[in-house]
Symmetry: C2
Subunit: 691 residues, 2 copies
């Protein structure tokens, strides 16, 4: 099969995913949104989300235009520069579009999930999961369409592979730029609103934190969509695209050997795209398996979809790889086999699932760590915090070992290319993985809407059941996002080294060690910036809530309406203002260091990678464990013979831990995924300039 | 001057330091210990400290004997093996002896400082500083005596330099082993007692935390001596010795060039020892400048001693280096100059001072970070914790830049040797640096004794003034300890690479990247172990305090005596029991990885180094800033127009931050200094086996 046909099939899979997503979105739209009150509240949330997108996209458009012009002009002698700029804009557009579709549908699915929960658990799960699936399929569909489309276009122009890949790397940079805004900005937005709403209830007495009279609650619900749906989507879009591109870069070296073996010259370059296309189809199939009977266990149903998809993907990958690659070949004196490449892909899939399960262990209400924190809450906030920090630190152990084994294993079986295809393997099921992730915040929103609209107890009980499952899937999703970011950054790192022609990145060379040290420091400073931003924005939110309660007469009595839009506006402005500094840091650091010394940039990349991954896992798991320790106590728990529940001192201590964990697990921690990938992508794009 | 004469002079400087320390210790002993009550309380503390030392040294003796036998037998074919074992035992003995002397004198100086404070500030400062000086001079004195003595002995046996240095590396391993026990065990001891005493007061109502009836208070005071005096001493002893040895290893390559230049063949090997000897004398001179007039500023006086010593050291180093090294020489195609070596030493001195000052900025009550945390305490514990974590994260930025510049600069001017002598330069003033550090806990103890003995207000006011200065010097000392650990580990790393004949530690090689990732993970797991140990031991302490109040009738009324020894025993046992697991991790990790693959061990070392340094700075500075934010509020502070002081909600929130910060800044954070050095030393010692 020639390259054009192969890529056309990949494009078809992308179109199919989008069509299926469109059908599901239409189906969601046809469901009833329930009572007038429900429609009103959902309207506020949807308006807020749209307001954020509008403002964010205005800033983004300016930023993308600026960077595109810069990319086109920076190296005018190369005729490819303006095409890099075009690829960059396409990447930004695709990521932005996926975010727009996902968030729009999520803000429709939330209220319809709440309404479906009035009849039963099964229909509610169906709506919530469908909402998440639209996000997941939009991401992978637009990802393969964008990459495949550009590849096909440049290939049709008769370009050689190296040149095509160099230009397409711009697509990844575009995706990263949007991811930076969406993940960092979204993270700041959601936690500014959340922490602000919580503390406003504390500072100004008489305003319960979840009360519809509290003007910040709508912003809080908008935040779930902005941060956990759109932010997570942009994050995984970047990983998905980045892993494919780096595998394409690293596959280019096999061309001669493939010609000699009688296989398609570019098959190692197109394999990542084909695997991604197969993954898209597998995700659609997997999503069809997610069905729950009334009274059934939603977790089980989601697991069948997710693990089933991973298993099916592994099986199909075997045949695709056997079909596309020679059984064995030699390049630069090293022997490769198609079986080895398959094993690398399987290792990636397995590592993704394993890291997710470890994350679940450390954060779940079922296992020891969260129980330990709940126990330590009895002696107060301080011991609760110490215990949570300890859990977060300890939880880095196994994921580090899993990643190290995945790196060693995939490299052993297929060299640097193996490393990159392991990342592709892990991310091939992104479609269903993201569906399961985004299902969480939709269920969370549904619960909030049910509460605020005064729906009966049993409805809330059903959405709570969905939400509890959502917490677990969110934890797994975070682990997956970090793990995939690590492997993607690693693959980009390998691609960078090749493109920049760095002979060796020897850490015993002081320049490289300095780079390593500076790189390892960046995640700390970046996290501090994100945390500081949340603190400042939450402070503004508290002041605004106080102002409204003072100035809007009748608000406290529930007779006047709170001005939600002002709070939404504060979160929006803060998110967009505050993401500039960390964003500049992430973009400037590799450029400055790279032009000083390309080997030092290599050290910087390695430092950001290892330090960022560990610091992100630490933050995400500490936050998740604190959250669930609080939930354990809220569900009444017996500790050393005494019962503790809502309102107990132990509960108060656990609330402190949960509030501390919020920005760690939802703002600074996940932002590090972007940091490590963005720095690697920037390095890859400037690689030919510093080579 | 021949080698023997030169080393003899170094030995003389060590003897002089010990003699001067002995004289000061005698002088302290001659001061009055005050009232009967004071003597009684001080007696409990001294007994507790001795009890800990006895038990610790018993375990240590067994451990040292075991390792010595192992070292002697592991490579029986080499005739040097048993001499490595002897060197190892000597290093352990020297470190243990320094700790014994320092702690014994500190537990005498504390009560005498309290008594001197009854007459004035100046005499109190004099006693406290003298107590610290004994520790400082014992460390550097025994350090140069041990290293110089072994060198002289082996040299007299007619050995060549490479062989001597290989054997002497065992001395460093001995020092590291004691440091592990002293720092990790001491850190666990002190915070188990501190947190346990605090929480016991909270859990069992009616037992104020600082009350002499609380059986855990004595253990708390013992902890200051065990952790902050002996632990810090062992930590710096290890850095001091490690930096000298790695510079000796790296200086051996210049022998041929020196012979050609007509200079002493071994001058580059002996220079680190000579610089250390000069530093010992400079410390003695600097200590003489520490004098305060009544009503004067103790901080200023300590600064004159410390910065004056650094300046003098730089000046003397210039002449020593000009005298010992050729003006210029060439080795392996690279040109070196004596001026370059001097600049490297000066860079080390400057970096040490700079990192200390940055640490002071981030933790001082005078500057913005602590004020920011105090402000955030108004909205509760959660915002206090978030703010403190943010300060800790942000504070890693400048030290990382300073270290990177120091690495780049010293390497630029004198290659790998420059890197190692920069560490020697930084540590050359360890004598006075440690005196200033150990002065803090002595003043702290003096304040506690004054309080418990019911001395008049004004006495407590004077010890508080000394203690406040002590907090600042402690922060600077912590920064210095981390910075010097980093440079020492780096120098050891360079020495390891040479000894193990690792051609390249290229992080783009997946084996090495895996090592890097695993290495970067170790500080997290190690810290989690240390924090968990504190939590468990504090829990035991709380139970014991409760038991005593239940079972000893009359204790609550102040009529019966609390059984302090039981609490001291709990802390002691816990410290010794709990340091085993992290200790094994630190020793086993490099051995296991090293025998799998020596390059992977190189990656592991680099990972532990950068991740450990940053995580240690994060923990130390977050802890210090929380501590001083609490102090700010306790001193009454106006925030947004409202006054907050002791007992306010803001104060309660700040106490939570302080308690969380305690194990971070005094147990897990400082333990990482040992981790990064110990792993590097173990790697260096096994280097010839895996070469």
């Amino acid at each position: 099969m020639n390259v054009e046909t192969m890529i056309s099939l990949v494009l078809a899979s992308g179109l199919l995913a989008l069509a299926y997503a469109f059908a599901r979105a239409r189906w969601i739209g046809r469901q009833s949104a329930g009572t007038e009150k429900m429609v009103e509240i959902a309207g506020y949330i949807a308006d807020g989300a749209r307001a954020f997108l509008r403002r964010e996209y205005r800033v983004l458009a300016a930023f993308v235009a600026l960077v595109a012009v810069f990319l086109a002009l920076v190296n005018r002698s190369a005729d490819t520069s303006w095409l890099i700029a075009v690829s960059f804009a396409a990447g930004a557009l695709a990521s932005g579009l996926a975010g727009f579709i996902g968030m729009t549908v999520a803000t429709r699915a939330n209220v319809r999930t709440a309404n479906a929960a009035r009849t039963g658990l099964a229909p509610a799960l169906n709506v919530a999961f469908s909402g998440g699936l639209v996000m997941g399929l939009s991401v992978v569909g637009l990802g393969v369409l964008g990459l495949g489309g550009l590849f096909l276009a440049y290939h049709a122009a008769g370009w050689e592979a190296a040149r095509i890949i160099h230009v397409i790397a711009g697509f990844s940079l575009g995706a990263s730029s949007i991811a930076l805004f969406a993940r960092v900005g979204g993270g700041i937005y959601t936690k500014a609103a959340d922490v602000g709403a919580d503390l406003a209830g504390k500072v100004y007495e008489g305003i319960p934190e979840d009360d519809p009279r509290n003007p910040a609650t709508i912003a809080d619900n908008v935040g779930d969509n902005v941060g956990d749906v759109a932010g997570m989507g942009a994050d995984l879009f970047e990983s998905f695209v980045g892993s494919i591109i780096s595998a394409m870069v690293l596959g280019a070296v096999f061309a001669d050997a493939f010609v000699a073996a009688g296989t398609g010259e570019l098959n190692a370059v197109t394999l990542p795209l084909v695997l991604a296309g197969v993954g898209v189809l597998v995700s659609v199939l997997g999503s069809m398996a997610v069905r729950v009977r009334e009274g059934g266990n939603p977790q089980k149903s989601l697991n069948i979809g997710q693990f089933g998809a991973s298993g099916l993907m592994a099986a199909l990958a075997y045949f695709v790889i056997r079909w596309m690659l020679p059984a064995r070949w030699e390049t630069a004196g090293v022997e490769y086999t198609s079986l080895g490449v398959f094993i690398a892909v399987a290792i990636g899939l397995l590592a993704g699932v394993s890291i997710g399960l470890v994350t679940e262990y450390y954060t779940s209400t079922q296992s020891r760590p969260a129980h330990g924190i709940a126990h330590q809450s009895v002696t107060g906030s301080a011991t609760n915090i110490i215990a949570g920090l300890g859990v977060g630190m300890f939880s880095t152990g196994l994921p580090a070992v899993i990643l190290a084994l995945a790196i060693l294993g995939s490299y052993h079986f297929a060299g640097l290319y193996g490393l990159a295809v392991a990342a592709v393997g892990m991310l091939s099921v992104t479609g269903i993985q993201l569906a399961v992730d985004a299902y969480g915040p939709i269920s969370d929103n549904a619960g909030g809407i049910a509460e605020m609209s005064g729906l009966p107890e049993e409805v809330r009980a059903r959405t709570d059941k969905l939400d509890a499952v959502g917490n677990t899937t969110a934890a797994i999703g975070k682990g997956f996002a970090i793990g995939s970011a690590a492997l993607t950054a690693l693959a980009l790192f390998a691609a960078f080294k090749q493109q920049a022609q760095v002979p060796s990145i020897d850490v015993s060379d002081p320049r490289i060690l300095s780079g390593l040290l500076l790189g390892a420091m960046l995640p700390y400073v970046f996290s501090a910036m994100a945390m500081g931003a949340v603190g400042r924005a939450a402070g503004d939110m508290i002041l605004e809530v106080g102002r409204q309660f003072r100035e809007i007469s009748g608000l406290r009595e529930g007779e006047a309406r709170a001005d939600h839009t002002r709070c939404v506006d504060i979160s929006t402005k803060a998110a967009i203002r505050e993401m500039v500094a960390p964003g500049l840091l992430a973009i400037a650091a590799p450029v400055v260091v790279g032009f000083i010394d390309k080997s030092m940039l290599g050290g910087l990349l390695a430092g950001v990678l290892v330090s960022g991954v560990l610091f992100a896992i630490f933050q995400a798991n500490a936050g998740g464990a604190w959250d669930n320790a609080k939930k354990l106590i809220e569900g009444n728990i017996s500790i050393d013979g005494t019962m503790y529940g809502k309102g107990s001192d132990a509960h108060k201590a656990s609330v402190v831990g949960d509030t501390v964990g919020d920005p760690l697990k939802d703002t600074s921690g996940p932002s590090l995924n972007i940091l490590i990938k963005l720095i690697a992508v920037v390095a890859l794009v400037i690689a030919p300039l510093i080579a």
